[in-house]
């Protein structure tokens, strides 16, 4: 059973990797991590407890304005939906990645990504998600999702990304 699940997950990972420019894809760490384990769905987007469902139906990314770590309206709306889902699926652990676009110096962007991840985490906690399920990491400008040097890409890189992992046996 476990091996069978892994096979599906590998296929899913490849799909995710293949559409890495899609707005529905994961962050740097990727939601490929920790997809197996009790309490986690069968990996299909039809299963409302699955990572695939979370990514396709809710979305894993919160975007920020230039040089800002304050959540905007769209960010708060998305985080509220994420919180509702996380509260219904308590087996998942959450890593919140914070990222910055390339228009900044390296250390500053590390700190800015840290602020963004912390802001997203704090909002999830305010919406009832148990703080012990949530951790943060910053990647600064080290892992852009989109690689052009225009605002169209920068706006996608100023982000906090929710990375899910199966919580019970991880």
């Amino acid at each position: 059973m476990k091996n069978y699940t892994k096979l599906i997950l590998v296929a899913l990972s490849l799909t995710l990797a293949a559409c890495s420019n899609s707005p529905l894809s994961g962050g740097f760490g990727g939601n490929q991590n920790g997809l197996d384990g009790p309490g986690v769905g069968d990996g299909s987007a039809d299963d409302p407890t699955s990572v695939a469902y979370f990514m396709q139906t809710i979305g894993d990314r919160v975007l920020f304005d230039v040089d800002q770590s304050t959540l905007n309206d769209a960010g708060r709306t998305l985080l509220s939906q994420q919180a509702t889902w996380l509260n219904s699926n308590p087996a998942y652990m959450v890593l919140v990645e914070g990222h910055a676009d390339e228009q900044g110096t390296r250390a500053y962007n590390l700190a800015l990504g840290d602020r963004r991840a912390t802001a997203a985490r704090a909002y999830l906690v305010s919406q009832g998600v148990d703080a012990s399920r949530l951790s943060t990491v910053t990647f600064g400008k080290e892992r852009p999702l989109e690689i052009c040097s225009q605002e169209a890409c920068y706006s996608q890189n100023r982000r906090a990304v929710i990375i899910l992992s199966g919580g019970i046996n991880s």
Binding site: A107, Y108, L110, D114, R115, V137, R143
Partner: protein, 444 residues
């Protein structure tokens, strides 16, 4: 030395004149360059192939003299008179110099040398001559070492010539630690590497399994502090260059640490530590133990760098609303803002001479490397590009290296150097992409 005194008089006169001497050097003047005074014309020098004093030294004698030329010409202050133009042949290191032959080809400086190899040991002798004064400039010098280290001896010769002519400290016998970059922009693989200041002798210090950032040398050049994602989130590490053994310095859960730099004492480490999304400046001993918090603002406080006397720290903070440069006591206390121009200022680095602070400036979508006095006055931008970042000082405080990244999906990072006056901008060769350079102290 009497000649030095005369030279200083002349330099003072040049310094007081607001107009540069367009023609460079008076042919009858002493052999002297003022680095900070905007030299227009490189000084013509002749460097005949060093004399091989035994058969085993034949190849090294030529290679060493080529590196000496490369150093001196590479500084932007000298121009080599090609060997084809030489009239005199130097086949005996101790023979009298035929000044007339060197004057005839307008060589103002003459560097002669001799090399002998005994087993694994190489001995390099050199002399510097002020051609138009018909006399040596300083005494002859001799360096000895392992044949493996022959490039260092060439750098020592060039350093001696550079220092005697400019009056500045040497910098060629130094190394640079940096981040070697490979792979696509969205998945850049990074590893620490160290090389000679001119790009030779690259050695890798880490593999590329974890992102590594911002290496900095210890004041003795034997250790490197850097930030690594080895545990999954950024933490500062200390690495011994010779053994490449490393250890984490700050492993407290629920915090992250980055942007480390040694104090001049070689023991204290100043760095940024973040908890609950707020970065502040801390210090700790490189041996471990208690951390001392120096700033406590809700702002991003990062990029700390000590003054060379260890009494002050310059850092960047966005406490005013955007990134600016501040100076505080090494014990903490109220910081004083020193940057007030348009745009954002980050990555401040105190010159090893104490006279300037180098920084990265962002303004109107461009990045610049600049310098200012330690009180923020006399701001001067040296470069401009899509992304210039992270200046580091040569050991003599007269040259700056930094990274330049090109724009777009295929953008790559390279290392560049520029002198304090903004002259002599050039790429430093590296095998792959390169970022985050940090210059070592002069090697002993």
């Amino acid at each position: 030395m009497k000649m030095r005194a005369i030279a200083r008089g002349l330099i003072l006169a040049l310094t007081l004149s607001p107009v540069m001497m367009g023609t460079g050097f008076a042919q009858s003047g002493p052999l002297r360059i003022e680095v900070t005074d905007g030299v227009i014309e490189p000084l013509p020098i002749a460097v005949p192939s060093f004399v091989a004093e035994n058969a085993a030294a034949k190849n090294l004698a030529e290679e060493i003299s080529r590196v000496v030329v490369s150093d001196l010409v590479g500084s932007g202050l000298f121009r080599e008179i090609p060997r084809e133009a030489h009239i005199a042949n130097v086949t005996n290191f101790d023979a009298a110099v035929r000044y007339a032959d060197w004057k005839a080809i307008n060589a103002q400086g003459l560097v002669t040398g001799a090399v002998s190899v005994q087993g694994k040991r190489v001995i390099v002798k050199f002399r510097l001559f002020d051609v138009f004064s018909d006399k040596p400039l300083g005494d002859g010098l001799q360096f000895a070492g392992s044949t493996d280290a022959w490039r260092r001896m060439a750098h020592k010769v060039a350093d001696a010539a550079y220092s005697r002519i400019t009056g500045e400290g040497p910098y060629f016998d130094s190394r640079v630690v940096f981040v070697s970059e490979a792979g696509p922009k969205g998945q850049r693989q990074k590893r620490l590497a160290v090389m000679d200041y001119d790009g030779a002798n690259v050695q890798y210090l880490t593999d590329s399994t974890s992102i590594v950032l911002g290496p900095r040398f210890s004041p003795t050049g034997d250790r490197v502090l850097y930030t690594s994602y080895e545990t999954g989130s950024p933490r500062i590490y200390a690495l011994d260059v010779a053994s490449v053994s490393r250890r984490v310095l700050d492993s407290q859960a629920a915090t992250l640490s980055f942007s480390p730099r040694f104090a001049p004492d070689g023991d204290t480490v100043v760095f940024s530590r973040s908890q609950n999304g707020n970065s502040d400046i801390y210090t700790m001993s490189v041996r471990g133990g208690a951390q001392k918090r120096l700033t406590s603002s809700p702002a991003i406080d990062t990029g700390p760098s000590y003054s060379p006397d260890g009494k002050q720290i310059v850092f960047e903070s966005d406490r005013s609303g955007n990134q600016q440069i501040y100076v505080m006591s090494a014990d903490g206390g109220e910081p004083k803002r020193i940057s007030f121009g348009a745009g954002r200022y980050g990555t401040p680095v105190w010159s090893p001479r104490g006279d300037y602070i180098a920084f990265t400036k962002q303004n109107k979508g461009r990045f610049h490397i600049g310098v200012m006095r330690t009180d923020g006055s006399e701001e001067r931008l040296l470069t401009s590009s899509f992304l210039d970042e992270g200046p580091t000082w040569a050991p003599n405080g007269r040259v700056i290296m930094f990274m330049r990244e090109t724009s777009g999906a295929n953008g790559t990072s390279s290392l560049y150097s520029v002198d304090l006056t903004g002259r002599n901008l050039k790429r430093v060769p590296t095998p792959l992409g390169a970022s985050d350079p940090a210059w070592s102290p002069l090697q002993k």
